[in-house]
């Protein structure tokens, strides 16, 4: 697919019976066709499943079980979202009342629907705290590893690299026993602490990468002017590294927002459950309305998708920087 400059190559050096101009034209059309086809394929593959999720979440129970499916809801309804956002939705069904209902009328919205908003708040709190801790421990460390010469510098960089490779599932068993002994089960602090293990290494890497890209002269000039190391960091480097800070904040936030495994182990009640946990609890119950599950799913993907679209540039550059060494 490197044929974008194909026309310039085809030089009429020898006079042969081939019509070069025509050949170049055909190649150009072919090239454009491949690009168009590829773009449409990517858009379709990415957007079709998500669109189906969105469409399902607005369908009534009667409509969602139609065969073949209605791709676009014929009688769109907001009932699923009402159940989430108004705690007193009269359509809410509990385990006790469910059996008395007519199965064909559907409406099986679980009573735990009202846990979704508190779960969202928990997710938000956990993610925010994780971001703050990441910045507090990550920034000075990355600055030191990027700009200060000291014994053990490359050793500490390798140490961070090693910790990035540890699988989260391998941390679960020891974490569980420790968290249990600390009495932090069912407390969002247990999530904040353990999420640091999966976010901090990445944070430090992106920042090291960025700080290393800033000229050493900057560092020296500030030091000659009498800045301490801390002042150099806060007054010279931080204002310059805003893009990488944005990337770091986004990654730590999204990782915490999306994390499932650790939250599954350490949370038990609505007091600490995060959004993915409440969502997962719906999927294992076969009597819950499909359209309601999709509405809940939509609630979970809206914030990350907005973040991804708004901050696309920062995310891509951050991922790129974090990747080079990771």
């Amino acid at each position: 697919m490197q044929s974008s400059q194909e026309p310039s190559v085809v030089k009429p050096v020898r006079a042969r019976s081939i019509n070069y101009e025509r050949q170049a034209k055909i190649l150009g059309w072919l090239h454009r066709g491949v690009i168009l086809f590829g773009s449409l394929a990517v858009l379709l593959v990415v957007l079709a499943p998500v669109t189906w999720l969105v469409s399902s979440s607005f369908q009534t129970e009667a409509e969602i079980v139609s065969v073949p499916p209605h791709w676009i809801p014929e009688q769109p309804t907001l009932k699923n979202f009402q159940a989430i956002f108004s705690a007193s939705a009269d359509e809410t069904v509990t385990y006790e009342t469910r059996s008395t209902q007519d199965p064909s009328s559907g409406n099986y919205i679980p009573s735990t629907a009202r846990n979704l908003l508190p779960a969202m708040r928990n997710s938000l709190a956990v993610a925010t705290l994780v971001v703050i801790f990441n910045l507090l421990v990550g920034i000075p460390a990355a600055y030191a590893m990027a700009k200060i010469r000291f014994w053990g510098r490359s050793g500490s960089v390798y140490f961070i690299l090693m910790t990035r490779v540890i699988p989260d599932i391998a941390l679960v068993v020891p974490f569980f026993l420790v968290i249990k002994n600390l009495g932090l089960l069912d407390n969002i602090m247990s999530l904040v602490i353990t999420y640091l293990a999966i976010t901090v290494p990445f944070t430090v890497f992106i920042l090291i990468q960025y700080f290393e890209g800033l000229p050493d002269e900057l560092d020296k000039a500030a030091r000659v002017d009498g800045c301490s190391r801390l002042q150099t960091l806060t007054k010279v480097f931080l204002p310059l590294s805003l893009p990488s800070l944005v990337a770091v904040i986004l990654f730590a936030f999204l990782t915490s927002w999306n994390e499932f495994l650790l939250a599954l182990m350490f949370t038990q009640t609505a007091q600490s459950q995060t959004l993915p946990i409440v969502l997962a609890s719906f999927t294992s119950d076969f009597t819950i309305s499909f359209s309601f599950i999709n509405a809940a799913g939509l609630l979970a993907i809206v914030p990350p998708v907005i973040i991804a679209i708004v901050f696309e540039r920062y995310i891509v550059s951050g991922l790129t920087a974090g990747a080079v060494k990771g």
């Binding site: 697919m1 990517v42 590893m145 679960v172 068993v173």
Partner: protein, 306 residues
């Protein structure tokens, strides 16, 4: 090595051994080191320690030291080897698909065309959403009663009656892999695009002058130059696939039968359903070791070849 040691004698000795630069550096990295020591190194060491004990929460007061019994039991356990096999086949199919698809999309995004921004922004969506949402979305698509996959294939006349998807032992693993690939391709694409963009253009110019056709340019310049990119993608995605848990939990719970009983699921069942923390720790530890070894192995082989 904390900031202000309580005893002044320690401060003095610190001052004597390290100059200002070194002291600041140590001070700056101390928080990260203590945090990671606490939440990453300590747990790994602790699970190594735990793996030598028989710990069952069903009998909390007796935790005998059993040497390597947890490991030996694992190696004798047929289910463990099934789990290894499932993990390997899931990883192989996912990583292959991710690498190939990401290469194609990266080649597409490397061109300049109208709407390129749109495609690359949309591509970030799967990357950003939670795995749980990815899982419930595909679970609903694969649904054997009312799912979109059945509906689509039925309307297009590929099938004449609705089929069972996730419940079919032969299809389970590829279908889960599909949900995994859908979410992982965007990141892999970004990584490959970086290495694609870093190929010097004069290489292509030279090849064109020599009259090398498109395919030859691709196989002799593009692919070899992207070696580091491929290495990165393969390492990262292998690590992600080996440890993956979320999709298995929501889509199949290891079923049907043992068709999707992967290692991470086995660790979960052993630890939190059988409440056998000793053997759970042993398995976790093995998984961590294998991940380290694989990363090392892939770096060595791919880094050397060509």
């Amino acid at each position: 090595m904390r900031s202000k040691p309580a005893g002044s004698s320690m401060a003095v000795s610190l001052r004597r051994h390290f100059n200002y630069e070194e002291r600041t550096a140590l001070l700056f990295i101390a928080p990260v080191m203590s945090v990671l020591g606490l939440v990453a190194v300590f747990p790994i060491a602790y699970s190594f320690y735990l793996s030598f004990f028989s710990i069952k929460l069903t009998r909390p007061n007796r935790t005998p030291f059993v040497w390597f019994d947890n490991y030996l039991d694992l190696f004798r356990d047929e289910l463990f080897w099934t789990a290894v096999l499932r993990t390997v086949s899931f990883t192989l199919m996912s990583v292959t698909a991710i690498t190939v698809l990401a290469l194609l999309v990266a080649l597409l995004l490397n061109e300049t065309f109208r709407g390129r921004r749109l495609v690359s922004t949309v591509l970030l969506i799967p990357w950003a959403i939670p795995y749980v949402a990815d899982a419930l979305m595909w679970k609903w698509i694969y649904d054997s009663g009312y799912g979109a996959l059945n509906g689509l294939l039925y309307q297009l006349d590929f099938i004449d009656k609705y089929m069972v998807w996730l419940g079919d032992q032969k299809k389970t693993l590829p279908l889960i892999a599909n949900a995994f690939v859908w979410k992982e391709v965007p990141l892999a694409t970004i990584l490959l695009l970086v290495s694609l963009k870093s190929i010097p253009q004069d290489l292509y110019q030279a090849a064109r002058v020599d009259g090398a056709p498109l395919m030859q340019r691709f196989f002799h310049i593009t692919l070899p130059s992207m070696r580091t990119g491929f290495m990165l993608v393969i390492i990262y995605e292998t690590m992600m696939a080996i440890r993956h848990f979320d999709l298995f939990f929501i889509l199949t719970e290891g079923g049907p039968g043992t068709a999707s009983h992967v290692l991470s699921w086995e660790i979960y069942v052993e630890t939190f359903r059988n409440l056998s923390f000793g053997s759970g720790a042993a398995m976790s530890y093995l998984l961590a070791l294998v991940t380290f070894a694989l990363a090392y192995f892939i770096i060595r082989t791919l880094g050397r070849s060509v």
